[in-house]
């Protein structure tokens, strides 16, 4: 879902930001296990990072807000392994495997983990870029029922192309199993006043990373 609770930019009322001195990487052991399970299962290639994000965004808003970060990851992962037929609800209830696993094309080994690679989303360009730095653009007023990376606060707004990032996997299609569909990616900068109105601080500018299908010439 796109207009869901995860899209938080500009929302009021969440209170001050509170930083924890000397914060550990994980506060509880289970958080580390969830992180590792997520990484290892992501390496199977059965779903995309965008599909993973979409499964978190589809959590009921109250569950999303009431859950800690790694609890959200856990709930999303649990949904995903069931949705892909990797694990049965009966197995989750039993707390153990009741049937042999499916064959996987890829599995993260100890050597893979030691190599510590990071996924890459840059792709060859399917054609020339439509925009260049300095071009004025307007973001579309999109409200798809599926995943998108155009935040609500930046829809229908006038901005300027600041940089061209090359072509990247398009989250909107990758999330729904409709392929990588690489698209040009741009840095688009907006004035605070364009986003937040005349009362906004003139010293503020905000940029997003915007895929070409989000933009029209202005």
């Amino acid at each position: 879902m796109t207009n869901s609770i995860h899209d938080m930019g500009g929302t009021h009322g969440f209170g001050p930001v509170e930083s924890e001195p000397n914060e550990p990487v994980f506060h509880e052991d289970w958080e580390g296990r969830v992180y590792a399970l997520q990484r290892a299962m992501g390496a199977t290639g059965l779903w995309t990072i965008d599909g993973g994000r979409a499964s978190l965004e589809n959590l009921p808003p109250l569950a999303y807000l009431a859950s800690s970060y790694y609890r959200r990851w856990f709930l999303g992962l649990e949904r995903r392994v069931v949705a892909h037929g990797l694990v049965g609800e009966d197995e989750l209830a039993a707390g153990r495997a009741l049937r042999p696993g499916m064959r996987l094309n890829r599995k993260m080994t100890l050597d893979d983990a030691k190599a510590m690679s990071f996924a890459n989303f840059d792709r060859p360009s399917p054609g020339p870029a439509r925009f260049k730095p300095g071009d004025p653009v307007r973001t579309k007023n999109l409200h798809p029922a599926t995943h998108t990376r155009l935040p609500r606060y930046a829809r229908g707004k006038l901005g300027t192309i600041e940089a061209v990032r090359g072509c990247h996997v398009f989250p909107d299609t990758a999330a729904v199993g409709a392929g990588e569909n690489p698209q040009w990616l741009y840095n688009v900068v907006f004035t605070g006043r364009e986003l937040w109105g005349e009362e906004a601080d003139p010293a503020i500018k905000v940029s997003i990373e915007a895929f070409e299908p989000y933009l029209v010439p202005a």
Partner: protein
């Protein structure tokens, strides 16, 4: 414990529930042959010991002493970081943005928790929290005030919302009074928050006071 994320730690019942549920899922995924426990241990070790802000601090310190490296960093941060990190962050599309007396940069991810793992490790709880994700794009000065940071009057603020797979590293301004310092000594001044934009590097005095404690 962070008051902005009370559900992580406050409820003993949720903790034990989560321990049980995570253990159960790991058991099932292992028994079905989908994951290797040794690989899981290694994944955790990677983020607890191998990657973290110490890498970003080395990158920033080198940029402060080596203009040619700084030029490379601002042109292609992935390539520049490759040459400093003890691993190859191949894949990560890193972008370095430089603070100047005119412009202060702040990085956020309003939609989830995108953060430059190869140079800063995993994000702190506050970065992933609703207060930070909601307010940074509309009230960055208020957020900076929460961190005790106030910028000189007239400083512009540029927010970078990490809405794609590009990742941002802020290169803060080198503190005064560090002329002639070694790269290693400078790296000790570069805090995690200064590389996100919610902090400034330590001054030589702050660093000395910190070391004495």
């Amino acid at each position: 414990m962070p008051a902005n994320d009370p559900h992580t730690h406050d409820h003993g019942s949720e903790l034990s529930e989560m321990q049980l549920r995570v253990k159960a899922l790991e058991t099932i995924l292992t028994e079905k042959g989908y994951v290797e426990p040794a690989a899981l241990d290694q994944i955790i070790e990677n983020v607890e010991t191998r990657i973290g802000p110490h890498i970003g601090a080395r990158v920033v310190a080198r940029a402060w002493v080596d203009p040619e490296f700084k030029r490379r960093l601002l042109t292609d941060a992935t390539e520049a970081v490759n040459s400093v990190a003890e691993f190859d962050p191949v894949g990560a599309h890193l972008i370095a943005v430089e603070n100047t007396p005119q412009t202060h940069n702040v990085v956020v991810c309003t939609l989830c928790s995108c953060y430059p793992w190869p140079v800063l490790g995993l994000p702190p709880v506050w970065y992933k929290s609703a207060p930070y994700r909601s307010r940074t794009v509309i009230d960055p000065k208020g957020v900076l005030a929460d961190f005790g940071v106030s910028l000189p009057p007239g400083t512009d603020i540029r927010i970078w919302d990490s809405t794609a797979e590009t990742r941002f590293l802020v290169v803060p301004i080198r503190p005064d009074g560090t002329e002639g310092w070694s790269e290693e000594a400078l790296a000790a001044l570069v805090t995690r928050d200064s590389m996100v934009g919610t902090g400034l590097p330590k001054s030589p005095e702050e660093n000395k006071a910190g070391a004495a404690r």
